[in-house]
């Protein structure tokens, strides 16, 4: 792969740092059951709001649940949501973007609809959709994907437009290659860089927005652990149990920070011209 080759050559420090942090986070979330003796949803209310101790590294919450355990499972939820959103965004954004970019007949209509969708800040679409569909992991994933895909579609579209009239594509067309073959073989392969960069930033954004939605009570359905919902819960106990609010916040920051760092690194590495493209 292009990326690996380039990485081997440059050894970009952002990427190294962020990948190390991300591997740690992935390890924590994948092996959560092995790293803790507690169950993230089982209550022990008689031991509620215990300060950090040897038994509970990060104390307990208002149900007596181990905060450390909930953070491990919470970041797991964040990663799941982030990955799924990225996947869906790339698929839908990719399809719409390629269609609009390749077939100029539908470009105008598609672009107007995308413009309208982008006129809502993503979080507002997500809040509205989550309120309609109700809380739950799947609904959050759908809502966030819906909110992010227009941006992805636009990026793919401009990549497609810049490539589709290049000589080698033209020559492929002139020898009678089918549209589908041209799209897959030439166009997608060559627009991979901007998609990858945008996907990384979307990953970070999805983690932030999932937390925000859960914070507002329209995200992950309790008692499933979500970092955002943990902050909401902690709000009431901020004065008497500050450990409840610090830990999930720091975990979110760590994950988002490393993803943003990775995005920056990828952008530098893959396509220096992309620097001026916006994150959102």
């Amino acid at each position: 792969m292009l990326f690996l080759k380039k990485y081997k050559r440059y050894k970009h420090p952002y990427i190294t740092t962020s990948i190390i942090i991300l591997i740690i986070i992935a390890f924590l979330s994948l092996f959560a059951p092995l790293l803790t003796d507690y169950n993230p949803v089982r209550n022990d209310a008689r031991n509620r709001l215990q300060p950090p101790s040897y038994q509970h590294f990060l104390g307990t919450d208002q149900f007596g649940r181990d905060v450390f355990t909930r953070i491990l499972y919470g970041i797991r939820t964040s990663m799941e949501v982030g990955l799924a959103v990225v996947l869906l965004t790339v698929i839908f954004g990719g399809i719409v973007g390629v269609m609009a970019g390749y077939y100029s007949q539908i470009d105008k209509i598609v672009m107007r609809i995308l413009d309208a969708l982008m006129a809502f800040p993503g979080i507002i679409i997500a809040i509205s959709l989550a309120a309609i569909w109700g809380a739950g992991k799947l609904n959050i994933i759908l809502a966030l994907s819906f909110a992010y895909f227009p941006k992805m579609a636009r990026i793919v579209r401009s990549a497609v437009i810049s490539i589709k009239d290049l000589d080698y594509v033209d020559s492929a067309r002139s020898v009678g290659a089918k549209d589908s073959r041209i799209i897959f073989k030439y166009i997608l392969k060559n627009s991979a860089s901007p998609i990858m960069v945008q996907a990384t930033f979307n990953f970070a954004l999805a983690i932030l927005d999932e937390a925000a939605l859960s914070f507002l009570g329209v995200g992950i359905m309790p008692p499933a652990p979500s970092l955002g919902a943990m902050v909401t819960d902690a709000r009431t106990y901020m004065v008497v149990a500050p450990w409840m609010i610090l830990a999930p916040g720091i975990m979110i920051i760590l994950a988002v920070l490393s993803l943003n760092l990775l995005g920056d690194g990828l952008r530098d590495l893959l396509d220096p011209h992309l620097k001026n493209t916006l994150k959102k």
């Binding site: 949803v41 209310a45 709001l49 359905m221 309790p222 009431t236 004065v239 008497v240």
Partner: protein
């Protein structure tokens, strides 16, 4: 007459004392007047018309503006308020009420029978307290300017208690006739009552401002909670709607607010240590009700419902739902200890008996097929949210699969109104219920949301029908005992525990009485 002597005595004593204390006691009495009170309330309201809502907060705030014919005092004794006296006909079908004369309303006119009758007709039609009464009610007659006769088709024992009911919005209050005529069944937004404060300004979602009514005509009776004399010491009362608990707390800490409703109970000891802040705990305050959807399996079978009572560790629920044990206590009966209708041995043998084995047995007996139980509850109320999570946890521990559905209020209210799609719902009920009949509103065949429709529910209807007619207190109590026994046998819903919210107030707010609904007459700022 006796009262006059008493007042004279008090005045004399006061004079003597004031002389002794170099005459500044009386001056201090005067000093109580003045100041603006800022109260921080949790929820805001959709409007201020108590007949057009079931929101108890409307009544709580508008108690300062409107008064009832009857009001409850500190010991839950029914006391005539805008009424001067009343008489019940021997057959229990006729209530003659004499009104107090010379009560000035906020529009400057004197309250008379026409105001009361217009307000009463509206209450009977719109208010759900009125809807409890109306099937048995015949008509209201004006005898003269200050005398009214209420006539029933059948004897209706709880009538006066419901008129003064502190439950949600049920209380009957007197509005000016012109306003009632102007608005009809629409939401009233011009408020003309008789209370010690008058409506000044309402900024939705932000604040309600009330100012002292200078021509207020206080009741001649001694002030006690809602009954008797209400002295408007404060110039102005501002109810601020502050949804965030920490914000309410900090407002009181900094002196921005003098009173804050529903603050985090876990900060109790912090407030205790603060000399500027007083804790206000109210017992009895609320009960946490677990409501079954009696329409669908498994809870169309009473054994399954009983099983849930055995399956739950109520004490653990207390910690999870409410927290600090200072704020909750186990109580199976619908009426609290000290209430004349309290049944001490309600739920004996089932309430508070934690027996998972028996629960499983009962579930088997009910033919429970292991399909998931849906708990539907609100996100916005901490008791509901935390209770639902804790109940899910406990049921899962004994191997019952549970699906939790926590939604915002509108969705919850809509979903639970349906027959399908949910099994268990949690809801806080106001504990102070002056009359057992009020429970009829949600107990019995297809009442409220319980979808209870069986042999048992019809027996319960029968019990309430008997209770309605029985005017003899002792015999009526026997019926209440039967009602509690039936309730704990059939368990269409049950009380998990009683709990109190924690309110706080500034120390400079004096003579504040913690009641089931906060009120600010007779209190003053130092």
């Amino acid at each position: 007459m006796r009262r006059k002597i008493k007042i004279t005595a008090v005045v004399l004593m006061t004079l003597v004392f004031s002389l002794l204390l170099s005459g500044n006691v009386l001056a201090q009495e005067e000093d109580h007047y003045g100041g603006t009170l800022n109260a921080a309330l949790q929820m805001s309201v959709a409007h201020l018309d108590s007949d057009n809502s079931t929101d108890s907060l409307i009544t709580a705030m508008m108690n300062h503006v409107y008064e009832g014919l009857f009001e409850f005092d500190e010991n839950l004794n029914l006391t005539p308020h805008l009424a001067e006296s009343y008489q019940i006909g021997e057959d229990g079908l006729v209530y003659d009420v004499k009104l107090r004369e010379n009560v000035t309303m906020h529009n400057g006119q004197t309250m008379n029978a026409d105001d009361v009758i217009a307000s009463f007709k509206r209450w009977l039609e719109l208010n759900n307290g009125g809807q409890l009464v109306s099937p048995y009610f015949d008509r209201v007659e004006k005898i003269d300017q200050y005398n009214i006769r209420f006539k029933f088709k059948e004897p209706y024992a709880p009538f006066l208690n419901i008129l003064a009911s502190p439950v949600s919005n049920q209380k009957f209050v007197v509005r000016a006739e012109e306003v009632v005529n102007e608005f009809g069944s629409d939401v009233i937004d011009r408020h003309v009552g008789t209370g010690p404060y008058k409506y000044e300004e309402w900024v939705p979602d932000q604040k309600l401002v009330l100012t002292r009514f200078e021509d207020y005509s206080p009741s001649p009776r001694e002030g006690s909670f809602f009954a008797g004399e209400r002295i408007p010491y404060l110039d102005k009362i501002v109810f601020n709607f502050i949804p965030d608990a920490q914000v309410r707390v900090s407002g009181v800490q900094t002196g921005q607010f003098h009173f804050a409703e529903e603050v985090p109970r876990d900060q109790y000891s912090l407030f205790e240590a603060n000399p500027n802040i007083d804790n206000v705990i109210i017992y009895p305050d609320r009960m946490s009700m677990l409501i079954f959807n009696n329409a669908n399996p498994p809870f169309d079978n009473k054994y399954a419902r009983q099983a849930i009572a055995y399956a739950l560790d109520f004490e653990e629920l207390g910690y999870a739902m409410i927290g600090n044990p200072k704020f909750w206590r186990l109580e199976p009966a619908l009426h609290e200890e000290g209430n004349p209708w309290h049944v001490p041995d309600a739920g004996k043998g089932i309430y508070g008996v934690y027996d998972p084995e028996k629960a499983k047995e009962l579930l088997d007996r009910a033919g429970y097929d292991g399909s998931p139980i849906v708990i539907l509850s609100g996100q916005d109320n901490a008791m509901e949210r935390q209770g639902a999570i804790a109940i899910q946890d406990q049921l899962e521990k004994i191997g019952v699969e549970v699906e939790l559905q926590l939604f915002d209020r509108p969705t919850v209210v809509e979903r639970r109104a349906k027959k399908e799609g949910w099994h268990i719902h949690l809801s806080p009920f106001i504990k102070i219920v002056p009359d057992p009949q009020i429970h009829q509103g949600w107990t019995g065949t297809n009442k409220w949301i319980s979808n209870w429709d069986s042999e048992e529910s019809r027996e319960m209807d029968q019990i309430f029908a008997e209770m309605l007619k029985e005017v003899d207190q002792e015999k009526r109590y026997k019926i209440v005992e039967r009602m509690e026994a039936k309730l704990w046998d059939a368990v269409p819903y049950f009380n998990i525990l009683d709990y109190s919210r924690l309110h706080i107030k500034r120390a400079e707010l004096k003579n504040f009485k913690g009641s089931w609904q906060p009120f600010f007459w007779n209190t003053y700022l130092e």
